[in-house]
Subunit: 168 residues, 2 copies
């Protein structure tokens, strides 16, 4: 397969993927493009390669920077800003886990803490099932939280090494 074709396929499927993961198509495509780019790209480069508008490119680049997946870089002698993606996939993954944990898991656990304070007759089966469900989610959520924290802090080799021992 030729590079140009492979590149197109990679970008377009990374984009399709993104949509399953709460990341929008353009954001994922920009990320894909930067991942395979040996050099930093400017906003105009990105607009041109992906045929997207200025506003769209700007907004999604900013989002990628917010997520910590892309960095702005200054190229001496150039007026424009350039962008590079973190290339180490392990770091990309832990960064994403970190952000989603912060944005989704933590608020959810907070909500569950609230909901466990439901009042009423403990013998009523509706009350009983409600509190059991909430408690189950809380317990599970706290384990997940702890595990993900460790994962985020861990070094890739340490992690994979130990995990593989554990999982034989």
């Amino acid at each position: 397969m030729k590079l140009a074709e492979a590149k197109q396929q990679f970008i377009s499927s990374w984009g399709a993927f993104g949509t399953h993961w709460g990341i929008n198509r353009t954001m994922a495509q920009i990320h894909a493009l930067l991942l395979i780019s040996p050099d930093p790209l400017s906003q105009d480069d990105i607009m041109e390669e992906l045929s997207v508008s200025r506003g769209n490119a700007n907004m999604n680049i900013r989002e990628l920077v917010d997520w910590g997946l892309v960095d702005r870089v200054i190229i001496p002698g150039e007026r424009k800003e350039f962008f590079v993606a973190e290339k180490d996939i392990w770091k990309v993954a832990t960064q994403i886990v970190h952000e989603r944990k912060k944005r989704e898991l933590n608020p959810m656990l907070k909500l569950m803490d609230n909901l466990s304070e439901v009042e009423g007759d403990k013998k009523d089966k509706h009350i009983r099932q409600f509190t059991e469900t909430i408690d189950g989610i809380k317990r599970f959520g706290h384990s997940a939280d702890k595990m993900l924290d460790t994962l985020v802090k861990a070094d890739e080799n340490w992690f994979i090494g130990n995990l593989m021992k554990l999982f034989k």
Copy 2:
């Protein structure tokens, strides 16, 4: 907090959550409703509790059954079908992991295998960065795949126990 209020909050936030996870609002709400229901519910019960249309309820219940999160049950003497959710959150989570792995991770790895066969001068930096990125994703993906397989097969206590030892 009163049960009715807590229930509303739980259903509505579980729905909002779902949307971050590629699950649509109604599907997640139906799931939430069934999770806290001590008894099986019929499609009409669900339509009424959540104020959604017949078609919408039908379609999303079917999806939940496809995902293995909800079972149809027959109640003797009743003509209608009834539905119950798997209540064990660990099982819910592993079921979701299993399905998403099948639907998303596996196809992605297959694609990466394809893309690694890009032809051209290995010294060209574009080719080099492309193959390095693809290889990185492949390696990471295969580790994740193995780990998730083990997780899906594992028993909750075994898993949490070992993990906590590892992660102290």
